[in-house]
Each structure stands twice: as C-alpha cells, then as structure tokens.
C-alpha cells in the first residue's frame, strides 16, 4: 500500500518525546516544512516537492535577549489558523511562537515556577514544562502545562500582540497532548480534546470562555497522543492500546490492541479518514476509520504495517490531508523517513 521514499537527513537525531514530528504543507510554494526536536534544539527542514531543494534551520528555546543556558524542549508543532500559521515550541522554561518558517519569534511566555524558598539553586521536585499544542477555532492556540493547566492564547490575524486569554484548570496530571478539529468556518459541538498522564481526556468547546463538555476518565495509564475527528476522540496509550470515544458522551466505540509498546504518535488524514499510529515497538500502522454520524457508529480497519528496524518511533505524521504520504522519526535517528502510497 505504501513504499519507502528517499529519507530527509536532519542535522541532529530525534529525541524520545511524544509526537516528535510536525509537518506543514505550503501548497502555493510547493514546499513542506518538517520539525523534529533534539534535546534543546528544533531542527527545521524545508523540502521542495520536486525533491531537489532542502534547507535547514535550527531553533533553540530561550528567552529573547537573555543569554542564559537553553532548556530542554518538549515539543514543536505547527499551528494552522485561518489567518496565519505559527510554529509553537514548548520547553521547560516557557512557550515560544515563531512565524511558520522559523524566521522571527513573535511571542514568548515564561512558565511560572513555584515560589523559590531561601535555598539557592533550588529545583522543584515536580518537573515543570509545557507540552501539548493545538490551534483551535479561528484565533486560539492552546498549550498544556505539566501542572495540568491549559493556557489559551488569543492570536490576532497578524502581528505579535498575542495575549493569554484564559487558563483551563481541569486536569490534575501533566498534559501530554491536545488536539482539535473544525478550525475556521466549520462548526462543531466539540472542537478541542486534551489528554494527560493519567489517561484522562477533557472535551471542550472553544470560545471567549472555553466550555468543558465532557471528561472521560483514564485508567492510570498515560495517554500520550490524542486526535479529534468527526466528533470522535482517538487516543493512544502507554499500554499500546488505541481507544475511540464519542467525544461529547464518552461512549467507547472501539478498542484496538494496536502496539506491543508505548504509543508515541497518532495522526489522522481528515479527508480520507486514515489513521496513523507509531510506537516504541518499531512499528507504524495505518488504519481506516469510518465514522457515521447518523448511526453514531465507528469502524476501524487495519490497512498496513511498516517496521523501522531497531528504532523506537517517536513521531509519525501524514504529509497531506488525504494521507497519500506520511513521515516518521525515531529516537537516535538523524533522518525523516518518508512513505508514499503505491
């Protein structure tokens, strides 16, 4: 169904982080951007569709104009809003937003660290970081925090006047991933889902004040990657299982014993309903989802497997809305592996 294409070499290897690959397709310029996190650096590659031109850029996570050491990055993701596209990078210190080509940083938000007692060189026992990034609706970008909070940023259609609009306090454990659907003009009942280290899922409706529609309890196992499509939450867990829930009711539609190890990445091609799952077990799997909103039923069919030998996969994304091609990253691997439909 798919065959391997020529890989893209990147400057550093990928780190073992959830959802460690982001892809942005720029049709007018016949380019695709890829970002992969390596420790405290984001490697960005811009690849032309004819396969002839590759340009590289590296971004570090640090406060503007401050010469302190950089911190470890947890995630980098492209956020597509109707009016603009931004690259969001989250780390132990804070959240940065860049123009999508990585050229200019437009916003920096420092994370609150707990009050420092008199002790010098104090380090909180609980890890502090931001993780989980998603664009929602017309003008919001949501970012999760290790405390369980979700920061909602209001993004104007241009310029750097980005503001923190709301903080959602519903999760009690570290946020792992956030996903949305129906950005732009489409209307949905639920347009945002957030997941945490306990496997708990929160379903939201975005707006000036975000509304919590539903909470789906976890089973003490981290949900490392989550997606929302046609009102269905697709969640990947550390046990290697994928579960499909109806977002607003929490009804379990399907359960797949998908992988033998921790799932690190899920992606959905919205126009075709193809689902991509990747895990530490070296396997990438392609599935087909059929969601019938009339009969409220969901079907999952397995289509294809790819094995990346001796590699714990940490990122997998479709390169286009139909799922014609997908890309994969793995721990310690200095390349982005690509597959295209035969």
């Amino acid at each position: 169904m798919y065959h391997k294409e020529k890989s893209i070499q990147i400057k550093n290897s990928a780190s073992a982080l959830y959802n460690n690959l982001s892809v942005l397709r720029i049709a007018p310029r016949r380019l695709t951007y890829f970002t992969v996190v390596h420790a405290n650096v984001v490697n960005m590659v811009s690849a032309s569709w004819d396969g002839l031109n590759y340009s590289h850029r590296q971004l570090q996570s640090k406060e503007p104009n401050v010469a302190t050491s950089t911190s470890l990055i947890m995630q980098a993701a492209f956020c597509v809003l109707p009016s603009r596209e931004l690259l969001v990078i989250t780390s132990q210190k804070g959240i940065q937003m860049y123009e999508s080509d990585g050229s200019i940083m437009v916003y920096w938000h420092a994370l609150d660290t707990p009050e420092t007692p008199s002790e010098v060189n104090y380090v909180p026992a609980q890890a502090v970081f931001a993780r989980g990034i998603s664009a929602v609706w017309e003008n919001y970008i949501c970012v999760g925090v290790s405390s369980g909070s979700i920061l909602v940023f209001d993004v104007p259609s241009k310029g750097s006047n980005i503001t923190l609009s709301e903080v959602l306090e519903e999760h009690k454990e570290s946020i792992t991933d956030i996903a949305s659907e129906c950005s732009g003009s489409q209307q949905c009942i639920a347009d945002l889902v957030s997941a945490d280290d306990g496997g708990n899922l929160c379903v939201w409706k975005s707006g000036e004040e975000f509304q919590l529609l539903n909470k789906i309890p976890g089973f003490d196992m981290s949900c490392s990657s989550v997606k929302l499509w046609k009102g269905t939450v697709v969640a990947g867990y550390g046990t290697g299982q994928i579960r499909l829930y109806e977002a607003v009711t929490g009804i379990l539609h399907a359960e797949v014993n998908a992988h033998a190890r921790w799932i690190y990445s899920l992606d959905i091609a919205p126009f075709s309903g193809l689902l991509l799952s990747a895990a530490e077990d070296s396997l990438v799997r392609v599935w087909h989802l059929t969601v019938s909103q009339e009969t409220n039923s969901v079907e999952v069919a397995h289509l294809h497997n790819e094995c990346v030998t001796d590699t714990q996969i940490c990122g997998a994304r479709f390169c286009d809305g139909d799922g014609y091609a997908f890309a994969v990253t793995g721990y310690d691997l200095s390349e982005i592996i690509r597959y295209t439909q035969t």
Binding site: S69, C307, Q312
Partner: protein, 409 residues
C-alpha cells in the same frame, strides 16, 4: 524534564562500573607499567569493591543524589565517576577511565532503551543493587549502607512537595516522607526515562560483548530491538480490534496481522527490598565472560550545541557531589596500584572487519577544549585529592593522573 534522575543514574552507572571492576580485577593484568604489582589478590579486589561501594552508597552522597536536580553533562558525570573509581587503592589511567565510562554508559543506555515499561527501570536499578549487595556480603558495615540507600531510593518522594535542604535534615525519618519512586506514575517514570534517553542520545560506541551477543549491530551501532517476545505487563498482545455498541456491548471482533510474534507477559518482578526482579536487564553480564574490550568507534561527539562554560548550577552540583564522597584515604593511597584496564594491543586483536580496524579514534565527549572549564574542574578535583598527594606513592603520580584526566575532558 525530570528532576529525579540522579539516584537511578548513579545506581546503574555505578553498578555497571563495579561489575567491570570486579571482572577486570580477577583477570591477570599484563601491563607495561613497571609500577604495577602484578595479579590482584582476592583481598585487594574485595577491598576495591568495598571501598567503591561504600563511597557510592555513602549516606551523604545519597543525600545529595536524592535532592531534585537536573541531569547535567557527561563531563560532570564522568568527573564524579572518576572520583568514585578512585575511592580505593586502584588508579586508572585516563585512557582506561575513558573506556570504562564508555562501557558503563552504553550498558545503561541499552538497559534504559529496552525497558519494556518505564517502571521496569526501577527493576533494572534493583538488579544492580542486588548484585552489589552480593559483592560486599562479607563486609557488614558496607552491606548495611547499601540496604539503607536502597530503602531511601525506594522511598524517594515522587514530587508532590517541594523540599528544601532544611526539610531534608529536619525530617524525623526518611521513611515518613510521602510517596515513593515505586509509586511514581508510569507517565512520570516515562518522563524520567525520556530524560535519560536525551542524556544517552547519539552514543553508538561498539562494545565487543554486545556485538558478540547480537545486542548491538556492528554496522550502525544501534541496539537490536526485537519485534517478538512477551509484551510488558499491562499491555495486550497486538492484533485485536473490538467494536462496541452504545450500551457498551461488544458487537464485533476482528484481527489484524501484528507484524511480529508476541506472547503474553511473563511473571512480574518484585519492587521491594528483596525478591526476583523478573528481568535480566541490569544483571551482571560480565561475570560469565572473559574481559572484553570496547572498540572505539567513529560516532559523533556527544554535544551538538555551542560549547558553554559549565553552568554555575552544574559546578555547584559537582562540588557538592565530590564533597559528599569524603576525603580519600591517605593511608590507602600509599599502596595504590595503577592499572591500564583496556590495553590498546588487545583492541587491535579484537578488530574484526577492516571497517572497525580503521575507526580507532577515541570518542571525544566534549567537542571543544575549554581551558577555563578544565581549570575549574581541576580546582574542584584538587580540593579532594589533596589528602592523597601528601602520601605520594613512589611509583605513581595519582594526583597528576586525576588532574591530567580533567584536562582531557
């Protein structure tokens, strides 16, 4: 990322180091160094193991490890491990220390990578502690120290609170501190594992022992990840899709090809002070083998970012760790033996294909020489090697060894 990595890092790296020291000190050493006193006696070997173990599991050292802190660079870690290795009558030359560090880090990288579940990282650590207990079984004082440290590690607070130095000292008993390593959630343990994986990233040193047992690929130095075998506890064997109706009743089952041959999980391991751990990761793989060499490979340098002088926090940590290991035993230093553990001649013989034969560069842990840093480290190291320098051994210049080593870093 995780601020709870140090105790596990030292238990595992320290444990691997003890395995290697134990094995090497049994073997007859053929050294061109005339100061070497020949084959090590059983008594001397036991002494080295006891001394290193006592230092590694010493209460003040464990105190320092248990404080929440970031995992710093290889440079800092190597400095501390060097100090640990020299806690007794044995001295390693810089090349040997380099290779010892490579062997131990590659071994722990393998263990961390192959842990079926993040929680199994604790079982791997306990395997190391169990083996170390066995090394020092004839020394009740040291054995007791290991037990105490093991208890404290099991009871490391998971991070619900924020502890200052004052809290640690005034706590009535470490056993009353809430939450334990073993009650950290899988998600938190996975974060810890991911932090360790960043630390070990891009290390692909070929280790003969691993190559021989097919744990590591000679071509790219990557560890072999099998797509078969038992799945971890809590995971189902892949291959099943279940669909449910709105009432939660299963309406369909279908199967798909898993692309590997998996089986149900094996028996579990014990997370307590004693018990079978249920995994071979972290056990002494050197015991059954004759001394093996590492083959230095042409792997890339560890750090990709611009060189930074040691951050102030990193230096502080280093100073605290070194200080907590106590002054070295001046008397013991008199009879110190210098050994070269990994003779370059043996490496030549071990070289299999011509591909390996050409790649004999020593791995550089740090991409650049930093004079300022070297002198900072030397200064700190110097504070703690002062005692031994007075009791100069006629055949050795151990103080110089330590300082020379710092310059190499």
């Amino acid at each position: 990322m995780s601020a709870r990595t140090l105790p596990l890092v030292f238990v595992n790296l320290g444990g691997e180091m003890l395995y290697i020291l134990d094995q090497r000190l049994r073997a007859p050493i053929a050294s061109e160094d005339t100061s070497d006193k020949g084959v090590w006696s059983e008594r001397d070997r036991r002494r080295v193991l006891n001394d290193v173990t006592a230092t590694l599991f010493g209460p003040s050292f464990v105190d320092e490890l248990l404080k929440p802190q970031q995992l710093y660079s290889h440079r800092t870690l190597k400095t501390v491990l060097t100090r640990l290795a020299h806690a007794s009558i044995m001295r390693l030359n810089p090349a040997s220390m380099d290779r010892l560090y490579e062997l131990t880090t590659m071994a722990v990288k393998h263990q961390v990578l192959l842990c079926p579940r993040p929680k199994d990282l604790l079982l791997v650590s306990y395997n190391h502690i169990d083996a170390v207990r066995d090394f020092v079984r004839d020394s009740p004082a040291v054995l007791n120290q290991v037990d105490q440290a093991h208890r404290r590690i099991i009871e490391v607070p998971a991070g619900s609170g924020i502890y200052s130095r004052a809290d640690f000292r005034s706590a009535p008993s470490w056993s009353l501190l809430p939450q334990v390593y073993s009650s950290m959630s899988e998600g938190e343990l996975q974060l810890l594992r991911q932090t360790l994986l960043v630390f070990f990233q891009d290390m692909h040193v070929r280790v003969s022992l691993f190559l021989k047992s097919k744990i590591q690929n000679p071509g790219n130095g990557r560890f072999a990840l099998p797509t078969s075998g038992p799945v971890p506890h809590g995971t189902e064997v892949p291959g099943l899709i279940r669909t449910f109706d709105r009432r939660g009743r299963e309406v369909r089952r279908s199967e798909f090809p898993p692309g590997g041959s998996y089986s149900r999980p094996a028996g579990g391991g014990s997370f307590g002070l004693h018990g079978a751990r249920g995994t071979l990761l972290g056990t002494n793989t050197y015991a059954a083998n004759r001394p093996e060499e590492t083959l230095a490979s042409r792997a890339s340098a560890q750090t990709g970012d611009a060189p930074n002088p040691l951050a102030k926090e990193e230096l502080n940590l280093l100073a605290r760790l070194m200080g907590s290991m106590g002054a070295q035993d001046g008397a013991g230093a008199e009879g110190a033996f210098r050994i070269s553990m990994f003779s370059p001649d043996d490496e030549e013989q071990e070289a299999g294909t011509s591909k390996e034969a050409e790649a004999f560069e020593v791995i550089s842990i740090q991409a650049t020489q930093d004079e300022h840093v070297a002198s900072e480290l030397a200064q700190i190291a110097g504070q703690f090697s002062g005692a031994e320098e007075q009791a100069e051994n006629p055949c050795g210049n151990k103080g110089d060894d330590l300082l020379a080593m710092m310059d190499d870093l």
